[in-house]
Symmetry: C2
Subunit: 330 residues, 2 copies
């Protein structure tokens, strides 16, 4: 510890040691001021999002500190991606129980720094507090889009194709697996499902393709069925989704083969952090090409219709009814 650090209070010492290296933007002033400033890119709107994760609620108390940091950032990055926005940076509000020490903080800062570099989103400022409760990590994320082009939930039109990125259900099944589900899976399949719950893979590489093509979009964080129903409600449209076309990983397919009832968990369980979007039929080919160029898999799963309500249709043409379409803590 330098003699300069000796003069600092506990919180200032934490900031200097762990968080300053992530505050690479000049407007963050090395976290040495009370606020940061940023000049938004000319001709752009600023896109704003906040989401928190809480120990015992959104992650397990024994998850590695690196994973906690990355999950906290990525659940917010996923929203920016779905809105077609480019990350600019973030604010961090961190509440820590007394027993959290420098080792945990070093790991947390390492995870944060890795993702700040990977996604181009430096730290602009933060706040650390002690809490008698669990670890609580609240992120406010800032991004930019050319003026007036943020992709919204509202905007889908009858005839638009419905696309989803990546694969659906892995994280929800990974959570069930972590809680002890007795499925017979290969090591690789177990690892795949567990890691998809532990560490979201937000589709920021797809953001520009979404912005250039999608009539509406949102990230899938509370289950595909419920989230897509919200998009249809906001757009005042209906939709028909063919469940057989919903992209599943090999691991998820293995689970569903053994326990078909897990289909509902896969479609409604949440934590996917994929993007569901609607694309006008005439732009679908171009969207596919842009996604391929961005190296993000996208799959067409259905079509927007006039009317109201998102129907999920099974292989025999029957509409699936879910007990609970969407995950909610309330």
């Amino acid at each position: 510890m330098s003699s300069d650090e000796d003069k600092l209070s506990g919180e200032d010492r934490l900031i200097a040691r762990f968080f300053q290296p992530i505050a690479t933007h000049p407007g963050a002033l090395g976290l040495s001021d009370d606020a940061a400033f940023i000049k938004p890119p000319p001709g752009c709107d600023l896109v704003l999002k906040t989401d928190a994760i809480i120990g015992g609620v959104h992650f397990f108390a024994d998850d590695a500190a690196q994973s906690v940091a990355r999950k906290a950032l990525r659940v917010n990055l996923s929203d920016l991606a779905a809105k077609g926005a480019k990350p600019l940076g973030f604010l961090l509000s961190l509440a820590l129980p007394k027993e959290i020490g420098d080792d945990w903080l070093a790991g947390f800062a390492e995870g944060l720094r890795g993702d700040a570099v990977l996604y181009g989103c430096p730290l602009f400022g933060g706040d650390t507090d002690r809490t008698p409760g669990p670890i609580t990590v609240s992120i406010a994320m800032f991004g930019s889009v050319p003026e007036g082009t943020m992709v919204r939930r509202a905007g889908a039109q009858a005839g638009d194709r419905v696309f989803v990125s990546g694969t659906i259900g892995d994280a929800a099944l990974g959570l069930v697996l972590r809680k002890g589900a007795p499925w017979t899976l290969s090591d690789a399949q177990r690892q795949h499902l567990l890691s998809r719950y532990l560490l979201p893979q937000p589709r920021n590489a797809l953001a520009e393709a979404v912005r250039a093509h999608a009539s509406a979009a949102m990230d899938v964080s509370d289950g595909l069925a419920g989230d897509f129903a919200k998009l249809c409600r906001a757009s005042k449209v209906a939709a028909e989704i063919e469940v057989a076309r919903v992209p599943l990983s090999e691991a998820a397919k293995a689970v569903l083969a053994a326990e078909p009832a897990m289909l509902e968990t896969a479609l409604t369980g949440g934590d996917d952090f994929e993007i569901v979007c609607t694309v006008p039929a005439g732009k679908a080919a171009s969207f596919r090409a842009a996604a391929q160029a961005a190296k993000v898999a996208v799959t067409e799963i259905g079509e927007i219709k006039a009317g109201e309500g998102a129907r999920f249709v099974g292989a025999a043409g029957q509409a699936l009814i879910f007990k609970r379409a969407s995950f909610s803590h309330f």
Copy 2:
């Protein structure tokens, strides 16, 4: 509850009922999307700040929900004021224990709305979660300043006058009083000290005067002695503060008359949410006039010197040594 609300999940219902009325900016999209957008004022920098308050740490569990909401906003508004920035809006991340119901939320939303209107800072988006811990309210606040004019901690020069707004020590003494200090005070004096702890009065009315005149500024949130020492460190200057000139309320004076040792609490205890700033001598008269026009009391308490270290000097010319110059949770 409308039939539309029937379709909503618990969190969506909360948002629609309590928080939508505060999201008056068109870019907040009525909180019906995953993110908000804002077009920053032309020629301006965006100023960013986050601060959280936690039940049992920053406020009492039995504080009124309205006060909790206002305190959460005001601790952030105070930073914007000290940086010379005009509020634009905020993001809210709210973690609530299971026992918190609609009554509390209604009060909280009412407090939030009142201050959003009073300070011109609408809600842009939010996140609500259940927590096994205490109520945790994290705010990310953004404001604007003409490009390149955010007032920093660094910038004070030898010869600058040191000003502080309002009165110092009330909140820290109010906290001691609330914990049961046996001081003999009038009802009005008790009320004054208690309310200054319960509900900060950030000096946003002074922001433009600070921006136009101050060479350096910060808000006083962790105690005047420690916070001002940080300003001097960032500015690489020394200072001499005359303790006898530090503005005190009648109530604080009554406490110090009865218990002189409380002077240290007043100067180091925190939660003042006043502004301390340095103003070049040639601008001091103009700053006083601007503050008067803004109806915010400001008091000159000392002068910046060449060197290092902020000295607080007593009536007899002796330097005061504080056990702990600044409040820290770490």
